[in-house]
Symmetry: C2
């Protein structure tokens, strides 16, 4: 309410710029994938557009098989799109948040908010550098660790390429693999089950949290944002793991088919952490129970952290919604860890969840008009697109052109952000009068 409305045509508002950059990147990727050297068989422009969008939005839903349909050149194109789409947005999101007036966590606050608002090129570069440095260090570590698994199995060249591809894909939460069955051959491999989740969990926490963890290390000194993010992530990961294990333990098509308890627990762990946004899978999701699918849809819609390589409405959005609910019944202001959560933040959560809900419902509506498949499979696919998760129960391949267009739109929307879209669509007018308060009966 206290924010000052700004309206400039040049330079364009950050969300306009962001949407434009992403669209350009997607179109460039589409063109490159259409080149004869990009694919082992001719693919349609629709397939190329879908693949480029899926890569840039780090979703991972796929209508072509990256391992067999794409050449090495095609795979490199996808990997570059993922890297720019993932880390690029992470950088951009921090700038965007700051421009929108949202404060960045304490450690970076001086660099980010105060200075960025003055818009000096030097500080922008410093920030981008910081994001890129973190990405480089984490990805280098991932490459080395994954190479220890892939190189002995496939030889040096192929093994290193596998390691690089999966490292970049994991850190950026893209979920693209080089096999149709994702990581299923390594369902019980301990290194894969620790290193890959480590990569996508770090990527999914978001720049603010990572940099605070690197700088501070002690829980007490972390910002409210980081505490809520870490607490919420732990809760969702453990809850998801327990739910998946309990529901699928005896299902012969999933966990029931694994021989040892250790393998079952490992697979439950992997499925819980991958569902919120990474999109790798080590099990065949077409055969999970309906109840499991419902849990996974919920996790996909929540997603990861703000200003991260993850999608969804974000963990902190869920946390603030829950805190606001508790606060309402306690007749107090929403608060956590000795910090009050401002009214403007509650308003933002309201706006975000409302838009997310309307987008999901509209997407599901349009796809269900054009496609008569199993409704739950469609809902799963739509949630996967909007949460840029990329997990699939197989419906994506069966969609017609309308369905694919909806999925492409949802991936873009899920990544560039419901808020950004709203920002684009909204007219901003300073309220001329302060209205007297009116009351509405609710519930």
């Amino acid at each position: 309410m206290a924010r000052k409305p700004r309206r400039k045509l040049f330079p364009p508002a950050p969300p306009v710029l962001l949407a434009a950059l992403y669209s350009s990147l997607i179109l460039l990727g589409t063109a490159l994938l259409m080149l004869p050297i990009g694919t082992t068989r001719p693919i349609s422009i629709g397939d190329a557009l879908f693949t480029a969008t899926s890569a840039v939005t780090v979703t991972g839903l796929s209508v072509v098989d990256a391992g067999t349909d794409l050449t090495l050149f095609g795979q490199i194109v996808v990997l570059v799109l993922i890297q720019i789409g993932g880390v690029g947005l992470m950088t951009f999101a921090v700038l965007l948040l700051s421009t929108l007036g949202v404060r960045i966590g304490t450690p970076s606050r001086n660099v980010l908010r105060e200075d960025l608002n003055q818009g000096t090129a030097h500080d922008l570069m410093g920030l981008a550098g910081s994001v890129l440095r973190i990405s480089l260090v984490v990805e280098a570590a991932g490459l080395v660790v994954l190479a220890t698994v892939f190189v002995p199995e496939m030889g040096v060249v192929r093994g290193l390429w596998y390691a690089l591809f999966h490292t970049v894909s994991a850190f950026n939460n893209a979920g693209f693999g080089l096999r149709a069955d994702s990581l299923a051959p390594w369902v019980a491999n301990p290194v894969i089950n620790i290193a890959v989740p480590a990569l996508f969990m770090i990527g999914g926490l978001g720049f603010v949290v990572i940099s605070e963890l690197v700088e501070k290390r002690r829980w007490r000194t972390l910002s409210l944002h980081s505490k809520l993010m870490l607490l919420g992530s732990a809760f969702l990961t453990i809850g998801g793991m327990i739910a998946f294990a309990v529901l699928e333990w005896t299902n012969p098509a999933t966990l029931g088919g694994l021989e040892t308890t250790g393998a079952k627990v490992t697979a439950s762990w992997f499925q819980s952490v991958t569902t919120r946004t990474a999109g790798f899978s080590t099990l065949d999701l077409a055969h999970i129970h309906d109840s499991t699918a419902l849990v996974m849809i919920s996790l996909m819609l929540v997603g990861g952290g703000s200003a991260s390589t993850a999608g969804g409405i974000k963990v902190t959005t869920l946390m603030v919604a829950l805190l606001a609910t508790v606060a309402f019944f306690q007749r107090s202001a929403p608060n956590a860890f000795g910090r009050r959560i401002g009214q403007e933040q509650v308003l933002k959560v309201m706006a975000l969840t409302t838009i997310a809900m309307l987008t999901m419902l509209s997407g599901l509506f349009f796809v269900s008009i054009s496609h008569d498949g199993d409704f739950l499979d469609l809902a799963f696919e739509i949630a996967s697109a909007f949460g840029t998760t990329g997990l699939s129960r197989g419906a994506t391949g069966k969609l017609d052109d309308i369905g694919r267009t909806v999925v492409i739109f949802l991936m873009f929307m899920g990544r560039v952000g419901p808020l950004t879209f709203g920002y684009l669509l909204a007219t901003r007018q300073p309220p001329r009068v302060k209205f007297p308060e009116g009351r509405v009966h609710l519930g």
Copy 2:
């Protein structure tokens, strides 16, 4: 935030009282329906409990056929349960809202808020009298109008009983009928298609709006609440009608089976207005398209008006959520018709929608564990129970005991109110310190 926390054991808090009263009424109804004179065939205690809950919560989901399984005595029991459950809660809700500190609309404000807070028996009686007077007048008019259709068809005694039963059932948004196919034989009858919707729309607007309309009649003088309620209802009714007509026009199992354009439009109108909470149907809903079912699920979850005979999260809750979303992007305070909507109201919407969402998801989850039916049918049935709508695609009859228990719980929850439950569960502690504000990144 400015509200003063109160905590008394005697008299019990209004929500405790409300939940206790409703539970008692349900148990009494169950006992009466178990009597041999209540039914034409012996029914299980589970069936009796389900029927009593469905009647008291004015839902209308059914595991017995009121027309053939119940004797006249059993039908009278159901009708009395509906009348007490519908109008009783309407009265109670006004008291509850007022006790919770929510102001009642301007015309009644002096009577309701100021005086009720002083708790004199005289004003309570005046309020209850006002609600009952409105109910009596509307139901008497409904009885006369419906009798003109049923008496010529069925004779005086049966026709009057049909007219009375459907009047009470319609005004209280109960959706119970005396035939398994609801009102299907009258799909194109103009009197039924105007009188029945008129009854349930008036009942579903809520006491505050009705009394304002009676007293003021002019749009300009209505309260913010009534304006939002009327505008939202009109929007949802027209939108629902258009959506239903467009999606089902050529479906041979629904609108396509009707011969004239007039009949199709009439049926679309009826289906749009009945879906939000009344629960009567003139078409077979098992054969609507998936996309239509999704639209109907959304309408059922929204429901009708606060302090009315309707269920759902309520039209005004949706309106405030949309206004808050628009306000966020305009960087202004949520407002409509020259009135600002307070932060506390936004917090309430947040709490209500969060609880509604979690309840719906949990209900769907538990039913999908215990039942392997079509997922969309289950979602439809769950939304119908939670929105106390009572429309069915046939899944309710097929549920096992766990599924039925979930549906009974959801009907109770949907009627007594998510907020009431939260109120029961919440611990209220006055915040000792005013915390400094913290920031969280969202979206």
